[in-house]
Each structure stands twice: as structure tokens, then as C-alpha cells.
Amino acid sequence: MQNASELRKKCPLIPSHVVVFLAPATIIYTLFMIYPLVDSLRLSFFTTTEQGTEMFAGFQNFITLLSDELWAPRFWGAFKNNFLFFAVHMLVQNPIGLLLAAILSNHRLSGKAFYRTIIFLPTILSFVIVGFIWQLMLSPLWGIARDILEFVRLGDLFQPWLGLESSALITLSFISVWQFVGIPMMLLYAALIAIPDELIEAAFVDGATAWNVFWRIKFPLILPTLGIATILTFVGNFNAFDLVYTTQGVLAGPNFSTDLLGTLFYRTFFGQQLQLGNPTMGATVATMMFLIILSGVLLYMFVWQRRVQTYEL
């Protein structure tokens, strides 16, 4: 009997039902995601004349954004801030996530589901809500943060962190870390519990300590997952907007110290109090963000994924 796949090989054209199955998703996705993205990339090479017509401008927008004395400080400032924002996530969020996942993956631990549920809770809230909650917590008026510091005898350290140029960005990074620790925790937890018990038991029988078992056996096995957590954090951080917009406003104050590429994009595209919005420059900022995110993703796919060994379990 000829089976269906052999039959299909005989007709070279794409069968009609395949087209029907693919069409709705492809049309919506192409129209509302790919086409606008391409349109934005295209617009970054154009400029709008005073008559409102579009004119090809070559790389002029990019040159302006990267070197003009009004634009460049804003772009490079946001760029630098964004990297710092990402660095705090990598140094704080992922290690805490790893620690919590390692503890939670312990067989004998009771109350696992309870802890998981609570620690993951902030992750399901909106940036807007999280931003406002922390604004209240850190407000000198309400004094919650000061009370807590006094409780651990560090009361003198309290400052209105969100309002100071030197600490606002770091504070926002920590707020974002507080919200998203659940993601690496869950991903790493899932990877850790997928490791077969026999592997771990064999190591213990051979006399390995818990410390060695974790770093020599478990850690290499979850390294690919750590890579996924990293790239997710990277992409999320480089198009972050809501948290800064909610807590610091569209000008990302004080004195642009919390400006990220996302807020710069919004300001450029829509304008602010005195400055009119500029779609083509907005598209230019978006194109730069696109290039940054794309290079991160490509680095992950072609450098990290090739180097890191994935073990079939």
C-alpha cells in the first residue's frame, strides 16, 4: 500500500490544504509584524521634508543620531545605561535565580509548590504596578525602606534613591530584578529536575561532595538553559520601556540618568513637552535597537550555542 507521504512526494505543488492551514497565521504575522518592521527599517533611511513628503536620506539619520551634538549624548547615554541595566540583571537576577532553583530542586524539600508560587508572583504583575509599588516603598514620605534599613541597623544609608542621579538607574535595575527573578528560577528549576537521579547518586557513591556534584555535574548540564535565560534577559532589557516611563516619566530623569533605548525611542517618535515627534528619527532609533538585539541573538546562536555542549539525557 502506498502511504500518504509517498503520494505527496509525487505531486510537486503545495497542496491546497497546506496553504489553507498556513494562510491565516502567515497573513496576520506578515501584515502586523514583519511588514511594519521592514517599513520601520526603510523609514530610518528617509527624512520628512517641511511639506510632509518623504525624501531618501541615505545614512544621514544614523550619522545624526550617533554624532550630532544634540542627539549623540542622548543615544550613547541610553546605550550605556541599557548595558548597565543588563549587567545588573546578569550579576544579580540570574545568580539569585540559580540559587533558588538549586534549593528548590532538592527532593527532600517540603513546601516546594508554596515557595515557587510566592517567589514567581511578582513576575506576573505589570511593570506599571511594580513601578508604582516600589515608588511607594522607597518614598521618604512613607518611609518603608527607611524602617527596614533601621531594623537591620543601617538606617543612615537611606536616601531617596529614585530621585538621585547617581542611584536612580541601579535602583530601577534592582526593581526589575525583583520582578523577574522568577523567570531564570523557573527555567533553571525545570532543567535541574530533568537531570536523572542515577547520575547524581552515582556521583555520591563515588564520594563526591554536594558542592562538587552541583558544579561538576549539574551546572554543565543546565548551562544551555542558563544561555536561554541570558538571551531572554538581554532581549527583554534592550526593549524595556514601561518601568522607566512609569516611575521616572518620559524624560527618564533625573537628568536622563535612567534613559534606556526604549524611552529614547518613545520620546523621539512621539516627542515630549517642547519637542515634536519625529517618525523617521524614531525609526532610526528602532533600527539601532534592532541591530543591537539582532547581534545579541546571533552571538547567542552562533557562538554560545556552538561552544556549549548539550547533553542528551
Binding site: 502511504n3 505527496r8 503545495i14 497542496p15 497546506v18 489553507v20 492551514f21 491565516p24 497565521a25 502567515t26 496576520i28 502586523f32 509584524m33 514583519i34 511588514y35 511594519p36 518592521l37 517599513d39 520601520s40 523609514l43 539569585i96 534549593i103 513546601g111 509548590a113 508560587t117 510566592i118 517567589i119 514567581f120 508572583l121 511578582p122 506576573i124 504583575l125 505589570s126 511593570f127 506599571v128 504596578i129 508604582f132 509599588i133 511607594l136 516603598m137 514620605l141 512613607w142 524602617d147 525583583w178 527573578v181 523557573m186 528549576y189 525545570a190 529536575i193 561532595t209 554536594a210 558542592w211 532581549v235 526593549n239 514601561d242 517618525p279 528602532a286 534592532f290 538585539i293 539582532l294
Partner: protein
């Protein structure tokens, strides 16, 4: 010093109380701000500042914040808008995503690889980067300030990951089942309908990854549908909170109201939610 750390009793006690201590400490850090906002939203202004850590009692209990929110805003409408947008988007994502995933995982046709990669692009590239183009498109379609605009954009946003996840599940459906259908003369569409219920476990995973970002989004409501009639909960809360910064009762109450539906859903479905998340991660 380091060898001491590696071999010290700390690690032996990893099965004892230390893990609970760490987890409780972090659990408190995660929960404390949320609880504090909720309990203070039920107190009068004086009590909020005098005794922020106390639960409301008969003396301090007050709904004044909620009254302000109900009088000044249209929260029920915002809820309805958010609910409509989130649910319709989710349904479209699931249905269209399942169809596309079925085509990609079931049939060999020229361009299969290409279509798979094309549809997967959106997993890593954030849709926000196309905002300039999206706004132009929505303006030219005359859909500014409509929920339709949000639904279309969110559907496009959610499809890539949904297709990716559904494909994994579709591949696990035994081939004999589909071929048996074909032998009986069922059409390809009929076979799709028959196996659709078998990928139900994927729904939880997809719901986690698509519903939460859609419900919580500020960017697209702010840009595509900022009007009063189409305002979503998050945009409504953001604007209201911005106006009433000094009215602590109103701020705390509106934060609580905006959190409430997500918190309730989370409490009821956290098991499925977390299972969905970990299942997605293993894949």
C-alpha cells in the same frame, strides 16, 4: 578559607533548615511590598502613615480610596476592554497557531523549512521595534483607538512562540492515528479537527507566555488606543496613578484593583501556570 566554605557544615545542612531559611527570606522579599499595598489600601489616610505594617481594624478601616477610584474612573470598562483584548487575542493565537503548526509538522512541502524559520523570527525580535510602521499601518486602516488594532497586533506578537510550542506537541501525536483517519477517507481538515484536542496540554504553556504579556502591556495601548473608551486596565491605572500621586488612598486602591484579577487568576491556576512554564522550558 575557601576549602572551609566548600566542606563546611553549611552544605551538610542543605537538607536541613538552611534552604527553608533562604526561601522564606526571599519569599518575604517577593511578597512584602504586594501585601503592604493591599492592606494599606483598606485603611484611612492617617493609619497609612501612622501604622503602615498593621492590618486594618475596625478603627482604621476605610474604603475612601476605592470610592475615589470608582467616582473618578471607569474601572469596570477598563477591565472589560482588557478582558476582551486578551481573550480574543489568545483564541486567535491558539487557533491560527495550531493550524500553522499542524501544516509545518505534518506535511512535507517545498519551503517548509523556510516557513518555519520565517514564522520563528518573531520569537526573538520584539514587535515593539516595528512600532513606527505599526502606527502608520493602523492609521491607514482607520483603526486608531479601537480594540481591533490591539487584538491584531497582539495576535501577530503571540503567534511565533505559539506555533513553535504547538509544533513540538503536534509531532508527539502518533502518526498511526492520522493515517487511520486517512484510510477511512477523512479529509485533511477533518484529521486536524480530530487531533486538535490532543494538544490541549500546550494551551497552558501558551497561555502563560501570551496572556500575561498582553494583559500587562502598556506600550501598545498607550500608542494605538489611548482613548478613554478603549483604555485597558494597565493604561487606565498608569494615567490615574499619574494624576493622583498625592492621594495615597486612591493610589493604593487603584494599584490593588489593577492587581486583583491577575492575583486571583494566579492563585487559582498557579499550578497549571507553573507546570506550563516548566514544560515549555524542558522542550
Amino acid at each position: 578559607m575557601f576549602t572551609w566554605f566548600k566542606t563546611s557544615r553549611f552544605w551538610y545542612r542543605f537538607g536541613g533548615t538552611t534552604p527553608h531559611f533562604v526561601l522564606i527570606l526571599y519569599g518575604l522579599i517577593a511578597l512584602f511590598p504586594i501585601v503592604l499595598v493591599v492592606i494599606n489600601s483598606l485603611k484611612g489616610r492617617r493609619a497609612i502613615f501612622k501604622a503602615p505594617y498593621a492590618f486594618p481594624n475596625s478603627e482604621t478601616f476605610s474604603m475612601i480610596g476605592y470610592n475615589t477610584v470608582v467616582e473618578r474612573t471607569n474601572f469596570p470598562l477598563y477591565f472589560a476592554n482588557s478582558l476582551i483584548v486578551t481573550l480574543i487575542s489568545l483564541l486567535l493565537i491558539l487557533f491560527m497557531g495550531a493550524m500553522a503548526a499542524y501544516a509545518l509538522s505534518e506535511y512535507k512541502f517545498p519551503g517548509n523549512m523556510f516557513m518555519g524559520l520565517y514564522l520563528a523570527l518573531g520569537i526573538m525580535i520584539p514587535i515593539r521595534l516595528g512600532t513606527v510602521g505599526i502606527l502608520r499601518l493602523i492609521v491607514s486602516l482607520g483603526l486608531v483607538n479601537t480594540l481591533t488594532a490591539l487584538i491584531l497586533v497582539y495576535t501577530a506578537m503571540g503567534l511565533p512562540l505559539a506555533i513553535f510550542i504547538l509544533q513540538q506537541f503536534m509531532r508527539q501525536v502518533p502518526k498511526e492515528l492520522k493515517d487511520a483517519g486517512r484510510v477511512d477517507g477523512a479529509s485533511e481538515y477533518r484529521i486536524f479537527w480530530l487531533i486538535l484536542p490532543m494538544v490541549r496540554p500546550a494551551v497552558a504553556t501558551i497561555a502563560v507566555f501570551t496572556m500575561i504579556p498582553i494583559w500587562n502591556d502598556l506600550w501598545f495601548p498607550l500608542i494605538l488606543a489611548p482613548g478613554g473608551k478603549t483604555m485597558t486596565v494597565i493604561l487606565g491605572a498608569q494615567q490615574f496613578l499619574g494624576q493622583f500621586v498625592t492621594d495615597w488612598n486612591a493610589v493604593l486602591s487603584s494599584l490593588t484593583l489593577a492587581m486583583l484579577p491577575v492575583l486571583m487568576l494566579y492563585i487559582f491556576f498557579s499550578k497549571q501556570l507553573i507546570r506550563g512554564l516548566t514544560a515549555g522550558a524542558v522542550k
